[in-house]
Amino acid sequence: MKNLKVLFIGILAIIGVLFVSSRQLEKAQGFSGSNTVTIYNWGDYIDPALLKKFEKETGYKVSYETFDSNEAMFTKIQQGGTGYDITIPSEYMIQKMMKADMLVPLDYGKIKGMQHIDSRFLDLDFDPENKYSIPYFWGTLGIIYNDKFVAKQDMQHWDDLWQKGLANNVMLIDGAREVIGLSLNSLGYSLNSLNNKELTQASKKLDSLPTNVKAIVADEIKMYMINEESAVAVSFSGEAAEMLDGNDHLHYVIPSEGSNLWFDNIVIPKTVRNKEGAYAFINFMLKPENAAQNAEYIGYSTPNKEALDLLPKDISQDKQFYPDDSTISHLEVYKDLGPEYLGIYNDLFLEFKMHRK
């Protein structure tokens, strides 16, 4: 008992020390209710220097929280409990949040700098007239290959993933829409297909892919490709940009038969507490010099055309990440499939994953 008492007191003392020092640190950082802007963003999806600059310029304090999937973010915002002022979902999730009445319509009287955004990325299907969202980054889905193992002419289309020589050498991104979608695209169908016959065909076609698939993973693809663990991978352009930075033998291809075009846009959720702060942040990010700095740091493609001019030529004229209009015209944005078809896509994907070699 004595032993336990000593332990108990010791633990209480540690708790006390931790509590006091944590309080001190919080005070030192100067958080107080009204001047805080709470930003809910993907992990590592903004240059931290920009957050500091924003705090300095506007006098607001940024409370920065992160999520790792659109769906997790949706659940958190739907349940409330935290006053998120800004969040940055992908386009299909914005559609879903609009339907669920979770977004605040933007007041364009308070927004400055919309003219900097490339008009190609405005007024799109998922958010007509950009009533709720402002483009933050955009990109595509494509194939990354290593020219040590695969020749350029052998890796231009989705069908090339099925070729014989690639046994156990393809990595896929862990997403039902992406994998089912590439199969649909390779058959010439839309990746938003709501046609059961097309879907069955696509899933049949996938049945013969597992011999080539090494793994179905997520963020780790980057590391594996840079380390030449695998010859080919399917992933998003932003991820690909970082891989290309890490290994000169890697190249990125957008299959010409079609692929996915995606957007991550800034929105103001209904949980907003500090509207003025939210608009200040939007305006701050619309400034070309800030957008350019962010694009250079993250490596994703910026929709801000003035920012593009500020970026080094080898970035802004890179066809892999800023494809021309003819390529873009073949790309499709994900549409909200509705719960029934989302379930079907997911079940087909689960079946695909469970295929043993």
Binding site: S69, D174, I216, V217, E228, G343, N346, L350, M354
Partner: protein, 271 residues
């Protein structure tokens, strides 16, 4: 008098049971009867039991959990046994727990580094002339890393059971002419069975619902019940189906409890 006092002390526990166990379970059971369109239905269960994909997944999941538990037990029992005889046993035991304080994701990344094509193990294999092998994304690496993570959770309860054992039983057995092997099988092992049972419960059950490792180490070639639930809750947002699998998991857990739970006090006597 005793019972009254005890009742007072167990109030927080009962509250916990009601608020954090029974309420969520009721919520899950309720959810499992709700279809995608929000109406009451048995469809989720029908889908589950009619789909070969789900049934196969359940079977695989149980199989992997069984293998993991078996391997963990085989490694941990001798370790706990030897540990119990060391000089500073409490210290060693704490040192067994310590690695679990390092974040799981980090350890998983370390294993990726160790097992990858150009990683340490393959360098070694090359060095001894076997040549590099594909280790990551295989059943071997998945079970290895899962077992790695669970070992401390098995050693702990077995160690506790062994430690508490009355040494006079052992000396009695020796005095009665039993050899070391007999002493172990007929005295020590049965007496440590309680620890083994809690260990099996603490390992098998979480192994059914491992999800992060299935992607990081298994490359999603291994799908467990946990992965499927994760997918339904986070991707399709079909909470009904996710809850249905959750109910299956809870039932599986009850079955395990029944098998490993305490039987009659009477102990089977070996002749």
């Amino acid at each position: 008098m005793m019972t009254k006092a005890r009742r007072v002390y167990s109030i927080p526990y009962v509250l916990w049971l009601l608020l954090f166990v029974i309420a969520p379970v009721l919520l899950i059971v309720y959810q499992s009867f709700i279809g995608m369109d929000g109406s009451y239905t048995l469809d989720n269960y029908k889908t589950y039991f009619a789909s070969s994909t789900y049934l196969r997944m359940t079977f695989n999941s149980v199989l992997y959990a069984f293998l993991i538990t078996l391997i963990v037990l085989v490694i941990s029992y001798p370790a706990a046994y030897i540990l119990n005889k060391t000089k500073h046993k409490q210290l060693w035991l704490m040192l067994i727990i310590l690695p679990t304080w390092v974040n799981l994701l980090l350890k998983a990344y370390a294993f990726i580094g160790i097992f990858s094509m150009h990683g340490s193990v393959n360098h070694f294999l090359e060095f001894i002339g076997i040549g590099p092998k594909q280790l990551l994304f295989t059943d071997f690496s998945f079970i290895f890393v899962a077992a790695y993570i669970e070992i401390p959770f098995m050693i702990m309860p077995i160690f506790n059971a062994l430690e508490e054992m009355n040494p006079s039983f052992i000396s009695a057995s020796v005095d009665l002419g039993a050899n070391a092997w007999q002493t172990f099988w007929q005295v020590i092992f049965p007496l440590s069975l309680n620890g083994v049972k809690s260990g099996v419960q603490a390992v098998f059950i979480p192994s059914l619902s491992l999800f992060m490792l299935t992607r990081l180490i298994g490359g999603n070639r291994v799908i467990t019940l946990g992965t499927a639930i994760e997918e339904h809750f986070m991707v399709t947002q079909n909470w009904g189906m996710g809850s249905t699998i959750g109910v299956v998991l809870i039932i599986a857990m009850l079955a395990i409890m029944l098998v490993t739970g305490e039987k009659k006090k009477k102990r089977r006597r070996a002749n």
